[in-house]
């Protein structure tokens, strides 16, 4: 690396904004060397979703980057590097352990620190703040010794913090100095409704309370005394009363600081020193500190542009917000407080439903200036687009916030200009999205990974999908959901047609709803649906031609046309006798044996004509089919659990066996894997499975929709401390809902991510029965469970079915192309070269 010609950029601070700066600078391909000095012990993580730490996310889940990524980018990242000195003349910074770094450009991304009001007693143990992962660890530790928790501060962050305390299991209170919650973003009416909703969720809100002192309590650890003479007892106090810019370094080394703090920057994010930039919450632009991530990102981009010699400026940022606080939808756009002279207001209030909407427009009623939305933020995206892009309002602006009567003027994707900002987190305009599609992106996923749109807060997801769909359609890309050319329906629609129409054969389905003769896409899909709905024997005469070869021969076809066989070993528990039988069968038929990842044993190299005899031996020895060949339940992996393990809290093996026996044979859009862990150490890796069950002291935690494979995804925590009965009930419902509604070959993870509303929606369907279908789902699952049959057993008992298990209809010869050689004392398929060398290569007609 040629250091002399390269600029050296030193970044102090590795929060979200500091990290974004590094990412953007790397992406700009500007020729420079980058060093990151982080005062914290870990690299950048997501502070926006900090409270998810209490719903099961780990520090790793929240991480935005890691050492490896920075290494790959050629960025030197130093943690625990607290900067103590900036020598602006010789352009050198020094850290507390004496290391020095010379810079060409210095970027301050030092962020902010929580403001703790100067209340006597605020420095005692269990008086905490909410900002970093270390803070969360402290809150978590304190919560274990506490019953009641109070958050000081009723702003956006304070309510997030209250949510965290509630999730930690504390009786939670919020104390706010102002007369209402979220006074910055909401009007009094909105603040009041938010208070009612949050109190209905069990969090007590105290407004207009000025805390005077925190002293020893009588029933709890502390007593907070308020200026009005009242008091509140609590065990834990969490301060979340706003932020202050971390500007000490800048102040100490002579940069210009605002009257009330903050490093003064210009439109290029330059400080009063030409070679020093400041971005994010430590920076003061036009006398404003921006405490949201999107403006910080915008500053980072402006600084990158200036350093790399490109054009770009930070010219203020929109502070509109949409979020869900403890499940309550809250939105605020622009001038929520009606401060613009001449502004006019429309309001809609549905008290029984707890919905309040306010629309602020200009004097001419032609532009949206602001809005407040409580209880229903479905109009947020549309209103924000009107506001940000100055789109002219329709004749009756009130229609934008009135409940949909079917004729509300929806703002379609086509109404937006190319300059319209769609994703404000990553500053992606509609033009960028159109450009990405012109550049070859042909799906929502492609556009997301290419432009990063909708990968920040996700607020623009629905709008982005509309634009992508609309643009693809314009280009003649048929955004068809049809499963194939023979059926103009999605898999979900076919499922419905089959179930409601009582259709039991492919011919009938084709005659009523399709064209042509079907194909290798729709036939197996229909076969799978028939199995999910009616659970017939998959090789029944009318279903047999529908199945993929793996289902037809009840084994997994390998590259040479032989099959592998995986008997079911429920929960991974197997007796010595059964192990011996597997060994004997493998030996007799000269099969290659290998242990699978799902705690079973795979036997490879069986010729099609050997399969019935092999199964005969296995079925007689008590084995059943393992469905390794099917889009169906595969395995339920387990750890050894409380029976043997010193740490186990529940009997995970029995639970795994019970679950495997309940769901074996269930056909689904794709394979399904389970695991059960007997304690939180999670040795069964349940969080990497479609259905993961982890034992707790009180029952079972249920995780859903994880997977390994090509695109691994951790499962989401779905419900906690379930009893045995509820656990099965929830799994029944999740799996049957999946079998009913997923696309062909869509695993649970992708299925859930594509459900509008995602995990929350799935919870509402399964836990709250929002669609009123839970009884039906359970009954359908019961039908499947009750009609289970081992397909091997049924097959070997049917002379008709056995007819198919031969290579030649007119000869007992073997397929001479299947040849094995020995390796590590077992067989493996011979390579072509080996076949020729042995003189056994078969003659093949070449045309």
């Amino acid at each position: 690396m040629n250091h002399s010609s390269q600029q050296h950029i030193v970044v102090i601070g590795n929060g979200m904004v500091g990290h974004h700066f590094v990412e953007q600078l790397v992406n700009s391909e500007y020729n420079c060397r980058i060093t990151v000095l982080s005062g914290e012990s870990r690299l950048a993580y997501d502070r926006v979703y900090l409270s998810s730490y209490f719903s099961g996310k780990t520090a790793e889940d929240l991480a935005l980057t890691d050492e490896k990524t920075y290494q790959d980018w050629g960025v030197e990242a130093v943690t625990n590097a607290w900067v103590t000195d900036i020598d602006r003349d010789s352009k050198v910074v020094t850290t507390k352990d004496g290391n020095t770094y010379s810079y060409d450009k210095l970027v301050l991304a030092t962020g902010s620190y929580p403001f703790v009001p100067p209340i006597p007693g605020n420095d005692q143990p269990h008086c905490l703040v909410y900002r970093t992962i270390e803070d969360l660890e402290a809150i978590s530790a304190s919560a274990q010794q506490s019953k009641i928790g109070v958050v000081v501060g009723g702003g956006l962050l304070g309510l997030e913090a209250a949510n965290a305390l509630k999730q930690a299991g504390l009786e939670t209170h919020v104390v706010e100095f102002a007369p209402q919650l979220m006074a910055v973003q909401l009007d009094p009416m909105g603040g009041d409704l938010l208070k009612q909703k949050i109190e209905a969720l069990g969090v007590t809100v105290h407004t207009q309370k000025a805390t005077e002192v925190i002293e020893k309590g009588q029933h709890s650890r502390y007593r907070m005394k308020f200026a009005d003479g009242s008091h509140l007892e609590t065990d834990l106090v969490l301060f979340s009363a706003g932020i202050r810019p971390s500007d000490q370094l800048a102040k100490e080394f002579g940069l210009v600081i605002g009257e009330r703090g903050g490093i003064v920057i210009d439109n290029q994010c330059k400080t009063s020193d030409n070679d020093i930039y400041a971005i994010g919450e430590c920076a003061l632009w036009e006398k404003r500190i921006y405490g949201l991530v999107a403006p910080g990102y915008a500053m980072a981009r402006a600084a990158v542009a200036d350093i790399s010699g490109n054009e770009g400026a930070f010219t203020g940022a929109d502070m509109s917000t949409k979020l869900k606080l403890m499940g309550v939808e809250v939105g605020s756009i622009g001038d929520a407080h009606v401060r613009t002279p001449g502004a006019q207001v429309y309001t809609y209030h549905d008290q029984p439903a707890g919905v309040y909407k306010k629309l602020v427009v200009d004097a001419n009623r032609s532009l949206v200036l602001g809005a407040v939305l409580i209880g229903d933020t479905s109009d947020y995206d549309t209103l924000l687009q009107y506001s940000l892009n100055g789109i002219a309002l329709p004749e009756s602006p009130q229609a934008l916030i009135l409940p949909s009567s079917g004729d509300a003027p929806l703002l379609g994707a086509d109404a937006l200009g190319d300059t319209a900002t769609i994703c404000s987190c990553h500053n992606v305009s509609k033009g960028d999205i159109v450009g990405a599609i012109d550049g070859g992106c042909c799906s929502l996923g492609d556009v997301k990974s290419s432009t990063k749109a909708s990968t920040g807060c996700g607020g623009c997801a629905a709008l982005l999908k509309n634009i992508v769909d609309s643009e693809l359609e314009k280009r003649g890309v048929e955004v068809s959901k049809a499963i194939c050319e023979h059926f103009d329906f999605t898999r979900q629609e076919l499922y419905h047609l089959i179930q409601v129409g009582g259709i039991k054969s492919f011919d009938e389905l084709l005659e009523k709803h399709g064209t042509g003769l079907g194909c290798d896409i729709c036939k197996p899909a229909a076969g799978s649906i028939f199995a999910s709905v009616w659970n017939d024997y998959v090789l029944a005469r009318q279903h047999q031609p529908l199945q993929d070869t793996n289902d037809t021969y009840l084994g997994n076809m390998q590259k040479d046309g032989t099959y592998s066989i995986v008997p079911r070993v429920a929960g991974g528990e197997i007796t010595p006798d059964k192990l011996i039988l597997l060994g004997e069968v493998a030996k007799k038929y000269n099969l290659y044996t290998k242990i699978t990842g799902g705690q079973r044993i795979d036997l490879f190299g069986a010729r099609v004509e050997q399969l019935p005899a092999i199964w005969q031996a296995l079925v007689e020895g008590g084995f059943e089919t393992g469905h390794a060949y099917a889009k169906a339940l595969r395995t339920v992996k387990s750890c050894v659990g409380s029976t043997w393990c010193r740490y186990g809290v529940q009997d995970s093996v029995t639970k795994a066996i019970d679950l495997e026996n309940r769901y074996k044979g269930l056909r689904a859009p794709h394979k399904i894997k389970f695991a059960v862990s007997g304690c939180t150490r999670e040795c069964a890796e349940a969080q990497g499975k479609d259905i993961g069950v982890i034992a707790t002291e009180n029952g079972w935690n249920l995780y859903v929709c994880g997977n390994g494979g090509m695109k691994p995804r951790h499962a989401d925590l779905f419900a906690t401390d379930l009893d045995d009965e509820t656990l099965v009930k929830y799994i029944d419902r999740v799996l049957m809902f999946y079998a009913k509604t997923a696309d062909r070959l869509q695993r649970t993870s992708v299925w859930m991510e594509n459900l509008e509303g995602g995990l929350d929606y799935l919870k509402s369907v399964v836990i709250d029965d929002a669609l009123g279908i839970c009884d039906e789902l359970e009954a359908q699952m019961q039908l499947i469970t009750d009609s289970y049959q081992c397909e091997w057993k049924t097959t070997i008992e049917s002379p008709e079915a056995l007819k198919r298990f031969r290579q030649f209809v007119n000869s007992d010869e073997k397929d001479s192309n299947i040849q094995f050689v020995s390796e590590r004392e077992q067989i493996r398929p011979a390579t072509n070269a080996e076949k020729y060398a042995a003189g056994k290569a078969i003659p093949v007609a070449i045309v």
Binding site: L517, D560, F808, N810, S811
Partner: protein, 116 residues
């Protein structure tokens, strides 16, 4: 031992009942593996015979593929990598440079005859 192109012969393979409607079976004819498919269009039953060798997957498996239609063509999908072969012409739909051999099929007195 390549088969001689000029010794075309009719081979009696099996009874009609040995075939499987809308699926395939395999016959060994003069040392050569032939996949025989039966396709019911609703109005009539059609019979096709092609080489059983999957030239892309390099294995004798085509008879175990799923039959169906793509546009107007009646095809079988290789069970290994899912390429489609036109049963009438032997042409691979996905690859212009790949083709499998086809053979005439005759049904006489409920016997299945292959011409090679």
């Amino acid at each position: 031992m390549l088969t001689q192109a000029n010794t075309q012969n009719i081979h009696d393979i099996c009874h009609l009942d040995d075939l499987v409607i809308n699926s395939g079976v395999c016959a060994l004819v003069d040392g050569m593996q032939v996949a025989i498919f039966t396709v019911s269009t609703g109005q009539e039953t059609l019979y096709f015979a092609i080489s059983n060798w999957d030239p892309i997957g390099q294995a004798n498996v085509l008879y175990r593929g799923i039959v169906g239609t793509l546009k107007e063509k009646i095809v079988v999908a290789s069970p290994l990598y899912k390429e489609h072969y036109d049963l009438a012409s032997g042409n691979c739909i996905e690859r212009d440079d790949v083709k499998v051999q086809t053979f005439p099929v005759h049904i006489e007195n409920d016997r299945v005859l292959i011409e090679i």
